[in-house]
């Protein structure tokens, strides 16, 4: 199960993580819907792009620009959070959406917990695979922690000051 578009839904993608013995250029990709590491995609691109059931995931130290010409080929791209506190994935997501124009599913995987979800959805994630030892129902609540935000990001293209008519301080002298 994952959270997608603010609902808990079944998921039939498999995330492929290489074991130490495997290498990106010769690992065999099973049939079915597989999300492969970026390095596997880059190494086996010629073969993999024949398939329509391949997604790709980026580690937090990897660059979204490596997918520059390919983003439109995927219906799912995932970003791995190796640790809760590793915030690179937020900029990766922002760059995938805002710079590279990726429009498919963007999924957060790895150390994904309830209290990150609000920020994640703001920078462009629309799917979340919360850590399996935690309640997914509980994680879903994290998406609605706040009902208003100050700054622009991917979900909200305009900062608050361009969206609302703020009150001007009525007691102030504006001359």
């Amino acid at each position: 199960m994952i959270i997608k578009n603010k609902a808990i839904v079944a998921d039939d993608w498999v995330v492929l993580r290489l074991s130490e013995q495997e290498s990106a250029d010769n690992v065999t990709i099973p049939a079915g819907k597989v999300i492969v590491p970026l390095q596997v995609w880059l190494q086996q691109r010629d073969v993999l792009q024949q398939r329509d059931d391949i997604g790709v995931w980026l580690a937090s130290a990897e660059r979204p620009e490596d997918l520059k010409d390919d983003v439109h080929k995927f219906s799912v791209i995932a970003v791995d959070f190796p640790k809760f506190s590793d915030g690179r994935g937020y900029s990766i997501a922002y760059n995938l959406r805002a710079r590279l124009g990726y429009t498919g599913e963007l999924r957060a995987i790895g150390d994904v917990l309830r209290d990150q979800l609000f920020y994640m959805q703001r920078v462009g994630f629309d799917a979340f695979a919360p850590r399996p030892d935690r309640s997914i129902e509980d994680a879903l609540k994290g998406l609605s922690d706040f009902s208003e935000v100050y700054q622009a990001s991917f979900d909200q293209k305009l900062p608050l000051f361009r969206r609302v008519q703020h009150k001007v301080n009525s007691t102030a002298d504006m001359t």
């Binding site: 809760f84 506190s85 590793d86 915030g87 690179r88 937020y90 900029s91 990766i92 922002y94 805002a98 710079r99 917990l113 209290d115 990150q116 609000f118 920020y119 994640m120 703001r122 920078v123 922690d145 706040f146 009902s147 208003e148 935000v149 100050y150 700054q151 622009a152 990001s153 293209k157 305009l158 900062p159 608050l160 000051f161 361009r162 609302v164 703020h166 009150k167 001007v168 301080n169 102030a172 002298d173 504006m174």
Partner: protein, 580 residues
Amino acid sequence: MYRYDEYDQQIVDERVEQYRDQVRRRLSGELTEEEFLPLRLQNGLYMQIHGYMLRIAVPYGFISSRQMRMFAHIARRYDRGYGHFTTRQNIQFNWLKLEDTPDILTELASVEMHAIQTSGNCVRNITSDEYAGVARDEVVDPRPYAEILRQWSTFHPEFAYLPRKFKIAISGGKEDRAAIYAHDIGLAVTKNAQGEVGFRVLVGGGLGRTPVIGSEICEFVPWQHILTYVESILRIYNQYGRRDNKYKARIKILVKALGIDEFRRQVEADWADIKDGPGTLTVEEVKRVASFFTDPAYETLTDHDPALNEFKADSRSFSNWMLRNVKPHRVPGYAIVVLSLKKPGTVPGDATAEQMEAIADLADRYSFGESRITHQQNLVLADVRQKDLIRLWQEATAYELTAPNIGLLTDIISCPGAEFCTLANARSIPLAKLIAERFESLDFQHDIGEITLNISGCVNACGQHHIGNIGITGVEKKDHDEWYQVSLGGAEGNNSSIGKIIGPSFTFNQVPEVIDRLLQVYLRERMEAERFIDTVRRIGHGPFKEYVYATDLAVEEEEVTGKHVVAPAEYSVPYYSPRF
């Protein structure tokens, strides 16, 4: 000052509920301490040696009397009757219970306050000039921009899990009073030759383990573009700042590794895409926020009240106070008053609930209901009529707030140190007290003149020891657990510099003697009216070093087994100090 509208209030209220639920999940065991840690830190809650410490944001140091009274209330109801004002213009309470903290935040929200991002690897409270709006040398009032940056950085979704903490300071005077050279981003709001407002942007400054003076990344960013420019700096840092070693994770290390030119190139490449986008500031927004920082209802007055001069002649204490603690105001007939939290014998930066209430009352009666917290851990009443100075001084003296020592030797900046903090190697507060008591003589202090003495209990430099003319740092040594390094030649302001260590470290009781020797060299070598720092710069470290180490410093040492001993907090739930 800035007042919340319904959006600001809603965001803060929702934050309190989010945090309340996080605490509930921690107490029920749903969250492990490791998972709770980044969450509580983003809300300024630390687990110190003896208890939970909560750091509450005072945005750019501005505080209303109502808010100050709330601090007094929190001090009494939830703490031990006092709070500690910090070098980041915030306040810390040291003796809280975890289960009380959501209620404290609810109370704070009722006076438009919070503890958002006062810790953690995110953009921290933005600091500014404590004389903003009233200083005679002000070019542009930095407060509207400080507030705009506060809102922009609050819960910024992309920059909540940076490699390390991130501090921004902004000043708008000809003289920098916000230590902008010692920040991750330092902003000087200024005007160009055409009179247009913009920012000189410095990046990669900072203290801590590796002190660095910030480098100029852009000479002039027009005001409309400041949010997007800062966003690009943060995006480059978030992606490329080191995460493998927390001691090399600050932006200064990245800027050094890339070089300022390459760092600038990367920032400006990122910026090219978002410049002129929706993040661009609008005239309406700047006007709206600036409307909260217009002049209070000043009366038309003149300087030079004859009664003041008369009283000065009568009272030496008052004239000393006028000399050190009262600063010129840009409006005739008004003055800026610095209330000292450094009376020798007290803890630098600490204020009791009674003092906080007294400050609130004084602010109401004499300064339009507002006060300011300085990064030197004092308080400012910025808009006092000169004709009220005598009464104000008399009333403030009753609360021990008028030590005439601003900018003098006993105006010591000090972190809480090893009695409270899990990071500190050595005690800071008792050392500050010992030094203040030794050099309490006002005649001596006035003779020495302007000097800064900053103490940190460890290399993390919360006491900003690198930019003290004399800096003292608690260091670790194997044989003995409390040693202090002494550095010389640090300074903040337009002519910022990082102090250099003078030599091998000293014991607790040796430090006052070391300071005395440094001062003796200054007295011997100074030329007419030369400040301590100027003598150091002119003659170099050599003569100071030589004299300090020339003869034995042996002094009787006290037992240091009590380094962490203050009366422990009592908790109904077990509290496991991270230190023991």
